[in-house]
Symmetry: C2
Subunit: 464 residues, 2 copies
């Protein structure tokens, strides 16, 4: 083990990740936090996040509380949110408050909003009152509306101010502003009502005595804090603005939306959708405690297995038929799986059309009519295929017919349900991404088993 800090830093680049990890843990153990910081600073961001996610929570806490507030804030910012929240919850509220204050208010709100109420209040109590109340107001917004995505670091001036005043202010606050994203400067009335937007470029090109209300873009486009993420996404797709002022119900300026943040929220939204359809509703990562991960996944699996058992009871009901035509057992899982596939394709298309705004949630009938045509064609093709396979395999044309017709009808049912469920979910204000999972599969399984075994029971004499 090296005992001066210099060689450590040089070695670090030659070490494998696991050796590096052991070394960092040793350094934390021996409270050599400066060396830890130096080593981490030299790694790629992704690697740094990876390494940090693998040291224990106690070690992370040690590190966080023994480096500068700004560096600590940077570490928090780079971690997955859930880890950062757990970590904050474990340190002194006053220390947590100091670290948080190095982050933009919207990120502060994202983090404290996930804490237990008592911890949140303890931390906010350690902040200057005005900051705390600003963060608190942000916590209340949903993650997927303008208020939950906007930043509250922006520049606003009164309408009677001159270009000179604005430039003077910026000149005197260069350091502070470098943390802002100052693309626009806003103009507000004495009651903080939004009056206009100044572009930096216009400030640059105007004489200093000009009153800013003369060069501002008056009545600028703005959105209210409750505007939904999807509307915001549509707005930024339509317009090339890079920022958009957000007002409250009294038209007072409360924040600024940056294009990048809206797109980032949309990316998170899509990624969420994907995980939800796979039954990963939470933000699982593999450094979380084993039992927590198991329990969360199991919650969803348990619902699913009960629904599966319900669907399979259709098979039990027709056990008599099945025992006489055992070949049918080969085709039940095929029908079940294929209907799920066809249905999920329709779900994916509906979710895309919803998010692009190409379809309204009340257009269930329109989507259904479009889907049954695709379902009929694909059901016909798959039905013929499976009928052929069944006939060749088992040698009974009636069995081919029963299985093929069941596949056709069930494909139409699956795409009808899959196409329309996301719209119905949206219309009921539920999450469309949850549609493709258990509901769809259970219904199509039941229908599929019923169609195959019901028809087989009817034509039993020809099947034996």
């Amino acid at each position: 083990m090296p005992n001066s800090t210099e060689p450590i830093n040089e070695d670090a680049f030659l070490l494998s990740e696991s050796e590096l990890l052991a070394q960092l843990q040793g350094l934390i153990e021996r409270s050599e936090f400066e060396s830890v910081e130096r080593i981490l600073a030299g790694r790629e961001p992704a690697e740094r996040t990876r390494i940090l996610s693998r040291i224990s929570r106690r070690e992370k806490r040690e590190l966080l509380t023994h480096i500068g507030f700004e560096d600590a804030a940077d570490l928090l910012h780079e971690m997955p949110e859930l880890q950062a929240v757990k970590l904050l919850d474990g340190i002194e509220p006053s220390q947590a408050a100091h670290i948080l204050e190095e982050l933009p208010k919207d990120e502060q709100a994202d983090l404290v909003g996930e804490l237990p109420a008592a911890s949140m209040n303890a931390i906010l109590a350690e902040m200057p009152k005005s900051d705390a109340s600003k963060v608190r107001s942000l916590v209340d917004y949903d993650d997927e509306v303008a208020g939950g995505i906007m930043i509250v670091e922006f520049l606003a001036f009164r309408e009677l101010d001159s270009v000179g005043v604005v430039i003077e202010y910026m000149r005197n606050h260069v350091d502070e502003l470098s943390d802002f994203s100052v693309q626009y400067v806003y103009v507000v009335s004495a009651e903080n009502k939004l009056l206009g937007v100044l572009r930096l470029r216009d400030l640059l090109l105007s004489p200093t005595h000009t009153q800013i209300s003369k060069i501002m873009i008056a009545e600028p486009v703005s959105v209210t804090a409750t505007t939904s993420l999807e509307s915001l996404h549509a707005f930024f797709t339509e317009h090339s603005f890079i920022g958009l002022p957000v007002v409250d119900s009294n038209d007072a300026l409360v924040g600024v939306l940056r294009r990048g943040d809206v797109e980032e929220a949309m990316a998170e939204h899509f990624a969420d959708d994907f995980r939800k359809t796979q039954g990963i509703v939470s933000e699982e990562i593999r450094t979380m405690p084993l039992m927590l991960r198991s329990r969360r996944r199991l919650a969803w699996l348990s619902i699913n297995i009960l629904l599966n058992i319900a669907a399979a009871s259709v098979i039990a009901f027709y056990q008599e038929t099945l025992s006489q035509v055992i070949a049918l057992a080969v085709f039940l899982p095929i029908i079940s799986d294929m209907s799920g596939c066809s249905g999920n394709q329709a779900v994916a298309v509906s979710m895309r059309e919803l998010s692009l705004g190409l379809v309204n949630p009340n257009e269930v009938l329109r989507v259904w009519l479009k889907e049954i045509s695709v379902g009929a064609i694909n059901g016909f093709a798959l039905g013929i295929l499976i009928a052929g396979v069944a006939y060749l395999w088992i040698g009974n044309p009636w069995l081919g017919g029963v299985v093929g017709v069941a596949m056709m009808i069930n494909t139409v049912i699956a795409v009808s349900l899959g196409g329309t469920l996301p719209l119905v979910m949206r219309w009921l204000k539920l999450d469309p991404a949850l549609a493709s999972g258990p509901i769809l599969t259970t219904v199509t399984d039941m229908c599929g088993f019923f169609l195959v075994l019901g028809a087989a029971t009817m034509f039993l004499e020809y099947l034996i």
Copy 2:
């Protein structure tokens, strides 16, 4: 039908979408394009996109070729890409070139890149040579690297230029620049090598005679045009920059990446992943021709049904056992479906960890060890549950044991495969999103059927 344009415009807001659609089609038929434009301008962007996606391609073409180039470009921009491409392919190359020239070069490249080579060349031939070659160079980049996401509209000046020269240029090009996103101004050498970045704010605060090389940020962070989307995303998560210069292999400045565009590409990437796991590999929307939609979905379903048949052949192989213990048929679809669910959960977690950079593609062993623990716990829980159900339902403890143990083992197999497949796919430079589909399900189905029926054959005497 109204026959003056004034009342149309007022009526339009009271009409339902389908009435509006009929009215617009009538107006296009009668070549009253100005009225069409006026009506469309009054609708929300999402509604406009929806309406446009529902008029025929011929009507869209009529509209596009009879309104101003800039308005036509706006329409193209708002449409789903596939529709825009089809439309461009159907109009005169010179007209297409004029319309395209109203869009940023990167969007031009996105659209012409999707055209058949002959159409692309015909359109580019109608553009000024330097523009055409710029677009052509963009077409060659993959959608998911810096070169495919960057914009090429940016301001660059030589190092010896003064602040005054830059401001003078901007003053004289205000109109043109308003279409740019001018957050930074770049400083380059005579060979176009990137030397520095100027912030507008610094330009604003410096005397006009200052040489820009004095106030630029020297040796700015930059990326090469081939940097992957995921690295870019990690970079923008780590840094608060809103733009990032892109250089080629000779360090020459070739474009600028905006934070918003990177996030947008990432959102599209996640949405794509989601669709791919559902077998919607293409950009399907429901206004596409029926046969095309059917064919595309069927391509994936056909592969799936063949794999399904392969898996089901395991059942056929054990038909003898099954016919003696018909109750097993009830549990086969349950085991198949539950293994798919468990496996897909592991896929979702791996894909998230890959995209957050929390795991390296070569850490297959690490992920596998983490997954088997979750698999063992959940498999145990699900196995006990299904064994209990089987026992209570059928009344035979041996049958409960066979089904329960098969469920346990198969859950471990499913999560092992599901957790590691995305890493292996990435390592093989294939798309991890494709992992969760057919491969996973087929293998887990086969294993599940084999475990249940194999064990049942071994213990047959206790099951009858």
